[in-house]
């Protein structure tokens, strides 16, 4: 069923705003536009983000970073810095008590560079001082002698390029991962062939609140750290190893997180701040500035894609050959997992009988790359969607018609051998966006909004479409789980309240809202609170991979059901019902409208009384560990049941391009997306609008520019982000089909629209200018400069060739 409820794109918000008064904020069950419990405090400025934390006597930390992308460290002399007034501690690699390295998947990244630095901005030392001025003075007094070496910055020199004449960047080797998917007859090809090559720049998450943490040494020799992160337990595991402490002595609490988008999945400042607190015996706070943030966390992988699609003359896909090269930068981060996503999505959401999909992610002296919204899939989507348009043009077919003829349906075999799990309403999504009304044609000059004003005759309108699918939850055999507990307690007013405990990181996406909705739904109580996330409970897994509503939502639902079972059992006993009822209380008892009712026994007990009486017997609490179905890693031929589920999205973009000035304005965006059961229509709208805006940014403005390993624009002056004036209203239609194996039928919603937005805009710009744009983001000179700038990294053969004859 198509959810026409949200068809008025702004409808979700406006309808909700009209229906719910201020007094009901945050009070709704699953399916309502419950408001964020933390909204008023965030608006008032009283919500404590990690960088806002202050405790008396706290020292201020700062990190010394390498200005070189590759160098030997000949000497680190900290004596002058240590001697400065107000400096409490200086730490370097020599001071790391435990493991010298950490990493999300493989521990290859040093806490501090010891003998060599491998990327611009790599930490070399850290200081703690009485204030920021003293800390910065200490950094300036550090005497580090670097011997710069030639950086390895061309990833093709590591994989598939010219024979390399370069020593390895790292003793672990310079290939983080390599995948070869072989499907059907990989040498088969159809009579019509198109090839294309794409160069994708680095996107930065640019979450608004830079990294920050406050570490407080504890009497037991451990450390308590409040910080902004996406995954408390992963941080703790890596921190404890490096600090040489048992995990129970490293206790983490989530502070307010100002956005994440993947950029807080890795350890950045965690070990440094904890080490300084342990070393000084004093609380230490550490906050990055913007430049340090942009140098300090891994980004979206830049990539080089080479594709060759072949088809019959009727437009039926015969084969896809693709080679994807992702530059992982200096350290592994999540590169191997990003590669699994990129390669397994490389052929797109289409029926492809034959495929050879090869990918690698390699080490260079460029900035480390890892998780960002979409996690490898946005890169693949840029490739497969550009190819579909190119193929349609070669066939003389309508671009949407080619997609209709080749769209994968549930049950179809993907190149991994996995059968596409359903529901998968992508055809419906395509038809919805194709049918949405188009904006009126450009009536006058494009105003690039106070930046420039062009001649109307230079403006070209373009329309583009893109389809994408995105895997949900962790894949490839990872033991992915989430833990949650629900307590039933009495609030200060004596009324019962559901208290949710979980380590799930609220980073802005709205898990605290959803968790409260689920707790209210399951307990029948009108009051539910979610306590701050910490490591006193088991892991909730990462806030990534579109997974928390499904995974931690599932854990909260399970815990709430169990605690309600216990409440009902105690109530049944008190009502004198048979022991069999207490064992399976839901057979006879139910919570309806604030009462526990047992119709067969003719009993009704107000929920508030039932909870109060049940608590007299002891605490009401239950914990649940939720797991999704197991997946498999890919085998040597790239085969395996690798993903749990997929979400599907279709975007249409309309752009105006000034072909003289090289300016692009995105005029309109329409999205139809497979969203499962909608838990909160307002939060859903916010996720898909934000995801679309980030996809827009990568298409037309966002690139972290690296020259010979040096990041040249790690500021908001140099790195452009979409503003209010750049992002049009999103015409959004949710397609609500419950996901059978997910709690309430939910689906993750945050990533799929980021995957489809970028290629839709690229298609629209190509449509407007009639150019083969291969660099992402599109830059002004790509639109007005010389035409053929394709590089020497062609990995699958000659480009733009339509072959006739061969069968």
């Amino acid at each position: 069923m198509t959810g026409q409820t949200g068809a008025g794109q702004t409808g979700a918000g406006q309808t909700g705003a009209g229906q719910t008064g201020a007094g009901q904020t945050g009070a709704g069950p699953v399916g309502t536009a419950a408001r964020r419990p933390d909204g008023p405090a965030k608006i008032a400025g009283t919500f404590p983000y990690a960088g806002d934390l202050r405790v008396p006597g706290a020292l201020v930390a700062a990190v010394l970073r390498s200005p070189h992308p590759a160098a030997r460290i000949a000497r680190v002399d900290t004596a002058a810095a240590r001697a400065l007034p107000g400096v409490a501690a200086v730490v370097t690699a020599a001071d790391v008590p435990g493991a010298q390295t950490y990493g999300l998947i493989v521990p290859d990244q040093p806490v501090f560079a010891r003998d060599v630095v491998r990327y611009h901005g790599e930490p070399v030392a850290a200081v703690a001082a009485v204030d920021a001025t003293a800390a910065l003075a200490a950094l300036a007094a550090m005497d580090v002698e670097y011997e710069p070496t030639p950086p390895l910055t061309d990833p093709t020199l590591v994989w598939d390029g010219a024979p390399r004449d370069h020593p390895p960047v790292h003793p672990d080797g310079d290939v983080f991962g390599e995948i070869h998917i072989s499907h059907g007859d990989p040498d088969a090809h159809g009579p019509v062939a198109v090839s294309g090559h794409y160069v994708l720049g680095i996107q930065d998450q640019a979450f608004l609140a830079p990294e920050a943490a406050l570490a407080v040494p504890a009497a037991d020799g451990g450390v308590d750290v409040a910080l902004a992160t996406q995954w408390l337990h992963s941080d703790r595991e890596q921190m404890a190893a490096c600090l040489g402490l048992p995990e129970e002595k490293v206790r983490l609490t989530l502070a307010g997180v100002g956005g994440a988008f993947g950029g807080r999945e890795d350890v950045t400042l965690q070990v440094h701040v904890a080490l300084l607190a342990l070393r000084t015996g004093a609380p230490v706070r550490l906050s990055y500035g913007r430049t340090e943030s942009m140098l300090g966390h891994p980004h979206r992988h830049p990539a080089r894609l080479s594709y060759r699609h072949t088809a019959t003359r009727d437009g039926e896909l015969v084969s896809v050959t693709a080679r994807l090269l992702l530059d992982g930068g200096a350290y592994a981060s999540s590169s191997p997992a990003v590669l699994v996503n990129a390669v397994t999505h490389a052929a797109g959401p289409y029926r492809v009988p034959n495929a050879r999909l090869d990918g690698a992610t390699v080490r260079t002296n460029n900035p480390p790359c890892g998780a960002m919204r979409g996690f490898g899939v946005p890169q693949a989507a840029i490739g497969h969607e550009a190819q579909l348009d190119r193929l349609a043009d070669a066939l003389g077919l309508d671009r949407l018609e080619l997609r209709r003829r080749n769209l994968a349906q549930p049950g179809d075999v993907l190149p991994t051998g996995q059968h596409l799990p359903g529901p998968f309403p992508l055809r419906e999504a395509l038809e919805i966006v194709a049918a949405r009304p188009l904006p009126p044609p450009p009536s006058g000059p494009v105003e690039a909004r106070a930046e420039a004003r062009a001649e109307a005759r230079a403006v070209r309108r373009g329309v583009g479409y893109a389809l994408a699918f995105k895997n949900l939850l962790f894949s490839a055999g990872f033991d992915d789980y989430s833990t949650a507990a629900v307590h039933l307690e009495l609030g200060p007013d004596g009324e019962p309240i559901a208290v949710v405990r979980s380590a799930a990181a609220e980073v802005g996406q709205g898990f605290v809202t959803v968790a409260g909705q689920i707790a209210r739904t399951e307990t029948g109580l009108s009051a539910a609170v979610v306590t701050p996330a910490d490591t006193s409970i088991g892991s909730a897994g990462s806030t990534s991979a579109s997974r928390q509503t499904w995974m931690s939502g599932g854990a909260v639902r399970g815990a709430a059901r169990r605690v309600v079972d216990e409440l009902l059992a105690r109530t049944a006993r008190r009502l004198g019902l048979p022991a069999a009822v207490a064992r399976e209380p839901r057979r006879m008892l139910a919570i309806i409208d604030g009462e526990i009712v047992a119709p067969e026994a003719g009993a009704r007990v107000p929920l508030s009384r039932a909870v109060r009486e049940a608590l007299a017997e002891g605490p009401l609490v239950a914990e649940e560990v939720f797991r999704h179905r197991a997946t498999q890693p890919l085998d040597a031929r790239g085969q395996g049941d690798v993903h749990v589920a997929f979400a599907a999205a279709a975007h249409r973009a309309v752009v105006d391009v000034d072909v003289e000035l090289g300016l692009v304005r995105v005029v309109a965006m329409a999205l139809a997306q497979d969203v499962g059961t909608v838990v909160n229509p307002l939060a859903l709208t916010g996720q898909v609008e934000g995801g679309t805006a980030q996809g827009l940014g990568w298409a037309v403005m966002e690139e972290l520019v690296v020259e010979r390993g040096v990041v040249v624009n790690p500021t908001f002056n140099g790195y452009l982000l979409p503003t209010f004036a750049d992002v049009p209203d999103l015409d959004f239609t949710p397609i609500e089909i419950p996901q059978p194996d997910a709690p309430y039928g939910v689906k993750g919603v945050g990533e799929a629209p980021t995957c489809s937005a970028t290629p839709a805009i690229l298609a629209a710009v190509r449509d407007a200018v009639g150019r083969d744009l291969f660099h992402i983001p599109i830059r002004p000179w790509d639109l007005v400069g010389p035409r053929d700038l394709v590089g020497p990294w062609d990995l699958v053969g000659p480009r733009d060739r339509v072959e006739e004859g061969a069968a």
């Binding site: 983000y49 916010g686 805006a693």
Partner: protein
């Protein structure tokens, strides 16, 4: 390296503080956050590019990171906490909470200051004016859709309130005439 340090008064939201030994080069943002502990003013780019530290300086919208604190000593600094009652601020705050304009929320205090300023000056601002007028405030989470919805709701609430005031004023005038 030794920075010149100054002590001076600074009036924030009607309270006059004594700033002690602040580096001459310290921005208003740094002094608010680090010396006075006023952390509702957010620190995201320090280049005047994102608007997270938007405050009013004698009623004019500025980014606190690009103003020297010492230069603000003679001025009235207004943060999100000190926006005048009776203006659009309350409607803006309410609309941000109700319309889903907040996700991570780090941009929210700055946005509320900037939107309140815009609606005070231009209560019936249209979409283009809203978009260009607020292009200095970056939100990375929302894509601006729900923020736009919030601003429209706040503007509508302001228009309703203004109409109510006019009506109330007329009644009073009528009563006075009688």
């Amino acid at each position: 390296m030794t920075a010149t340090r100054l002590s001076y008064p600074l009036t924030v939201d009607g309270v006059t503080w004594r700033v002690r030994d602040a580096p001459l080069t310290a921005s208003l943002l740094t002094v608010l956050r680090e010396q006075l502990g006023i952390t509702s003013v957010k620190d995201a780019c320090e280049q005047g590019r994102c608007g997270s530290c938007s405050v009013l300086l004698d009623g004019t919208l500025v980014t606190a990171c690009t103003v020297l604190a010492a230069d603000a000593s003679e001025c009235r600094v207004t943060t999100v906490a000190g926006l005048p009652a009776g203006g659009p601020a309350d409607a803006v705050r309410r609309a941000f909470a109700e319309a889903g304009a907040v996700q991570c929320g780090f941009c929210a205090p700055g946005f509320v200051v900037a939107v309140t300023d815009l609606l005070t000056r231009r209560p019936s601002a249209g979409e283009e004016e809203i978009r260009t007028g607020l292009a200095g405030n970056i939100c990375r989470c929302t894509g601006y859709g729900r923020i736009l919805a919030a601003i429209r709701a706040a503007a509508a609430a302001g228009a309703t309130a203004a109409a109510g005031e006019v009506a109330a004023g007329e009644t009073t005038a009528g009563e006075a005439a009688r």
